[in-house]
Amino acid sequence: MEITKYLKKPSSYIMWLLIIVFGIVGVQYYAGYISASTAAIFMDLMKFIGIALSLAVIMSYTGYVSFGHVVFFGIGGFFTAYELSKYSQQILQGGNPYTIFLMGMLIGVGLSVLLAATVGAAVLRLRGAFFAIATIGLDYVILYLEMTYKGGAGGGEIYFNVSRPRFLEETYFVFFIAFVITLIIAYIVKVSKFGYGLAAIREDEDAAEVIGVDTVRYKIYAFMIAAGLAAIWGSVYSWRQFNFTPENFSLGISVDMIVMNVIGGLGTFIGPIIGAFIYYIIYRLTNTYLPQLAYIILGIIVVAVVSFLPEGVAGLIRSKFPNLRKYFE
């Protein structure tokens, strides 16, 4: 009998609640009860939560900041856009764009996971800031490589067109599927024996080694999962935008991911989700009403959270309401 089943698992209620709510919104949207602009908000939210959770697996669960994590988002997006533009003729003649999309995504995700394994094997043996710096370097290398790509538009940009009747409604469900996959993978990693090993690494890596955690392998696996999830989101994002630009490799997206994790609370499954909600709300409000000050305000909020709530919002709720603890792990 697996003794680890006695470990108290964080509740999965919030995850199922999110899936149900976002699912219902999708159905309502498809049936025409919800406007496209409202649905767009939910799609943005799914993307924010998705990329936050993708980074969480390595940063928040394991304690290694993948600063250039956007590189995998970019790779996923690039190959999706590349495949869709390469087969644009077939699509125009009525070919199914989804098979091509899926192919592009699989290539992007596969290469991201492979890249994470290779880079991880080289760098995750080192501790501390080396890993963060190496991932930034990796992002720049891939960005400049990508910019040499001369597609139809040149300068690393790719445009394609998959417009079809009800494209937006269908795309909502593309996002939704990616959302469900991300939530479930991030949750399973968190509650599995593997996840406990990652937590041990985060809290004290030497102590993890002396209780028999194969730390190097665990870290590499976590990095591979994080990379794959980020690539999925890069891929669906490109699909929705009808393009890919080198902007998708911008470190600003990396910073977004990190900030959402920090605001929400490190080490938890629920933290990045809460962080994404808060970040998105602030982001929308500031961009609508005070666009010039948007990033200044976000910056101040981050400094405030780091100074006053080092455990993030999830940490605050857990310490104030011990009864709710199992929902905010």
């Binding site: 030497d206 102590a207 080694e209 002396v210 209780i211 955690v213 080490g267």
Partner: protein, 238 residues
């Protein structure tokens, strides 16, 4: 005499700095072997090197006669080498029982996990009372018990303790000493005890090594060492 652990001319260090200069040491089966010395003598480095967390520069580590010098730490744990590190190194955000269960999830102890857990609770009834408490909220003595208990959950053959008496009140040091004797007498473990507290170690150990500047300078049974004029003067303050 069978030896569970044998170190042959072990050398290691950090970066460019060599710390161990050919350490020879043997842990006798079913006995407590003490490695004694002052701060910075290389005691902890010896243990970290045995576990493979600090990589050996040279020499050999034999475990039950097999060469394990270059084995990674997690494999060493899985053949029964266990280290209870200095300073306890617990996870403050996890409960007592979570610590124990996590340790027991390695392949080596999986089958016997339930049984060992009960033995551990019998050894430390206090931990059973506090099984759902976060490790960060335990007292110093309880934390040391938990560190030892976590090590025991790994189903060890060789049990290495790094300064278990550090920072504890004399009465608790006595308790820990009794626990370590029990591990030898009742649990039949081979213990390698690293200590600065010479009095406590001499009380329970069977054989001892004294290390200075990364070299073993003296060894012998505890009774021999107690009579040694150098030990008397430098360590026992007699």
């Amino acid at each position: 005499m069978t030896y569970v652990l044998e170190l042959e001319k072990l050398e290691s260090g950090y970066g460019e700095t060599q710390v161990l200069f050919g350490v020879n040491l043997k842990a006798r089966k079913g006995q407590i072997t003490a490695l004694l010395g002052s701060n910075g003598a290389g005691k902890s480095t010896t243990l970290w090197t045995i576990m493979g967390i600090v990589k050996p520069w040279g020499g050999k580590i034999l475990f039950n006669g097999e060469d394990v010098t270059m084995l990674p730490p997690y494999k060493k744990v899985n053949i029964g080498m266990t280290l209870v590190p200095e300073g306890r190194r617990l996870w403050p955000q996890l409960t007592v029982e979570e610590h124990l269960i996590m340790a027991a999830s390695i392949p080596r102890s999986k089958e016997r996990a339930q049984e060992i857990l009960e033995m551990v609770y019998q050894l430390f009834p206090r931990l059973k009372e506090r099984r759902n408490q976060l490790a960060g909220t335990l007292s110093g003595g309880e934390q040391q018990m938990l560190a030892i208990a976590r090590g025991l959950m790994l189903n060890p053959v060789l049990f290495m303790l790094d300064e278990p008496s550090l920072g504890l009140a004399p009465k608790l040091v006595q308790e820990i000493a009794e626990t370590i004797s029990k591990l030898r007498d009742e649990w039949k473990l081979t213990v390698l005890l690293v200590e600065q507290n010479i009095h406590m170690s001499m009380q329970i150990a069977d054989y001892a090594y004294i290390i200075e500047n990364g070299r073993i300078v003296l060894e012998g049974t505890v009774d021999e060492l107690k009579e040694n004029p150098m030990v008397k003067k430098a360590y026992l303050g007699l």
